[in-house]
């Protein structure tokens, strides 16, 4: 085994130990979006003229759909680790979507966030967002 291979293997072991210590000290739980207001707040930070016309949190509290009252643009907010990631669901960014009962599955034209799944409390809410997504893609 060459010195370089040993260097890489030793480094990988070191990385695993540091990540293990990180998990031990801070846990590995995904964050939750506590209330819909948190998703709105995040978008307000990122988009200066964002005012929520409507916003719904999915039942796992790990994703939300929102609509901007100013221009009707739809937004997705999802939990990633203990942070949030947002995406505008405009034509071109949203490839397809499908609803199955209370669950909406989104496919995005996004290399780092290709899919999202949201399950709502009841079917009427899922249908309402499905209609808005159809309008966004039209």
């Amino acid at each position: 085994m060459t010195g370089q291979t040993l260097y890489v293997i030793g480094s990988l072991v070191g990385v695993m130990m540091l990540v293990g210590l990180n998990a031990l000290l801070f846990g590995t739980e995904n964050a939750r979006i506590a209330t819909v207001a948190d998703a709105v707040k995040r978008l307000r930070q990122e988009i200066a003229d964002f005012y929520a016309a409507d916003a719904t949190l999915d039942i796992t509290k790990r994703a939300a759909l929102l609509q901007n009252a100013r221009n009707g643009v739809l937004y997705l907010v999802v939990v990633k680790g203990n942070g949030l990631v947002t995406r505008a669901l405009k034509k071109g960014a949203l490839k397809t979507f499908a609803r199955e009962g209370t669950t909406l599955s989104l496919r995005l034209a996004d290399f780092t966030l290709p899919r999202a799944k949201l399950t709502f409390a009841d079917e009427a809410i899922a249908e309402a967002w499905e209609a808005r997504l159809k309008h966004a893609l039209a």
Partner: protein, 305 residues
């Protein structure tokens, strides 16, 4: 002289980096000043390791280019302490301009964005380094003046390594602010938090490596405000902790845009214009985000009629 044969400072400092990451984790756990996330830390550390491996595999391009330029040097600077100090200072100026270009030219940003892709700001983030710097070809040009002046390539390499070692410790929320005289001259955690922030007022500022005086001289300095705490990451945060996807994501974005380009002007725009540029202006750049934020602030400040 013994120091003519100095090895890479970043390699020597690596054990210290690891100890400081552990110390910061413990400090953050006890004090609550800062944040760590295991998958984010894993991505950062693997990107750091991958960057070393990729540098070994792909770094020959930079070395070849430097050796190509070296015979055309105007002077021959010999090794001495004053020469090394001068080289360090001038290399920091070079770093400032490279770094500024890396935020303003998408071809270079495709590489540098990786370092900014964490929503956390801790010492592990400092190690989140790109893998494909060898393909950020315009970046090679920034070293030319140093080589042409006549600094020996190992001296430039040492200065660059020392510069990177200095920058490691400024990636932390655990340190507040230093005395005014120090903050006035040196890059500090406070100044660099601003650099990593996505708050509109902080975008594209504080490019310094070691000496913040370059930002003050060239009009890119912004100080950290207590009423606008930095939010870290990029304006379109990545939705993955997969290091390969993080390393590739902006390169993929450029490839997609180039594939749909309809003219040479569009090709040039996608490669050399600031990140977020698009032919129809439908995407956000730092300027457009700042302008929207400014207008929203103005509107909020105006009294209701």
């Amino acid at each position: 002289m013994w120091w003519q044969h100095l090895i890479n400072p970043t390699v020597v400092a690596t054990p210290l980096f690891i100890l400081l990451v552990i110390a910061e984790m413990l400090f953050v756990r006890l004090s609550g000043r800062g944040a760590f996330e295991a998958r984010d830390t894993a991505a950062s550390l693997l990107m750091g390791l991958g960057s070393v491996v990729a540098g070994g595999l792909l770094g020959f391009g930079t070395v070849w280019f430097n050796h190509l330029v070296a015979p055309h040097r105007l002077f021959s600077v010999t090794w001495s302490v004053p020469a090394l100090v001068l080289c360090f200072v001038l290399d920091d100026l070079r770093y400032y301009w490279w770094h500024r270009a890396a935020h303003r030219v998408r071809w270079l940003w495709a590489d540098h964005v990786n370092h900014h892709s964490s929503q956390h700001y801790n010492l592990a983030t400092a190690l989140r380094q790109p893998w494909f710097g060898a393909f950020a070809l315009p970046g090679y040009l920034f070293i030319v003046p140093m080589v042409v002046v006549g600094f020996p390539l190992p001296m430039i390499g040492f200065a660059h390594g020392a510069n990177l070692v200095y920058q490691f410790w400024v990636h932390t929320e655990s340190i507040g602010r230093f005395p005014h005289w120090f903050e006035a001259v040196m890059n500090t955690p406070s100044h660099h938090r601003v650099h990593h922030a996505t708050n509109p007022r902080y975008l594209d500022s504080n490019y310094a490596g070691v000496f913040i005086v370059w930002d003050r001289m060239f009009g890119t300095f912004v100080s950290e405000r207590d009423d606008d705490r930095p939010r870290y990451g990029i304006v379109k945060n990545v939705g993955t902790f997969n290091p390969l996807k993080v390393a590739l994501h902006e390169w993929v974005g450029i490839a997609k845009d180039l594939a749909t380009s309809r003219s040479l002007k569009e090709v040039g725009g996608y490669l050399f214009a600031p990140p977020g540029w698009s032919p129809d202006g439908s995407r956000d750049t730092s300027e457009s985000l700042r302008a929207q934020w400014y207008l929203a602030q103005r509107a909020a400040e105006q009294p209701a009629e």
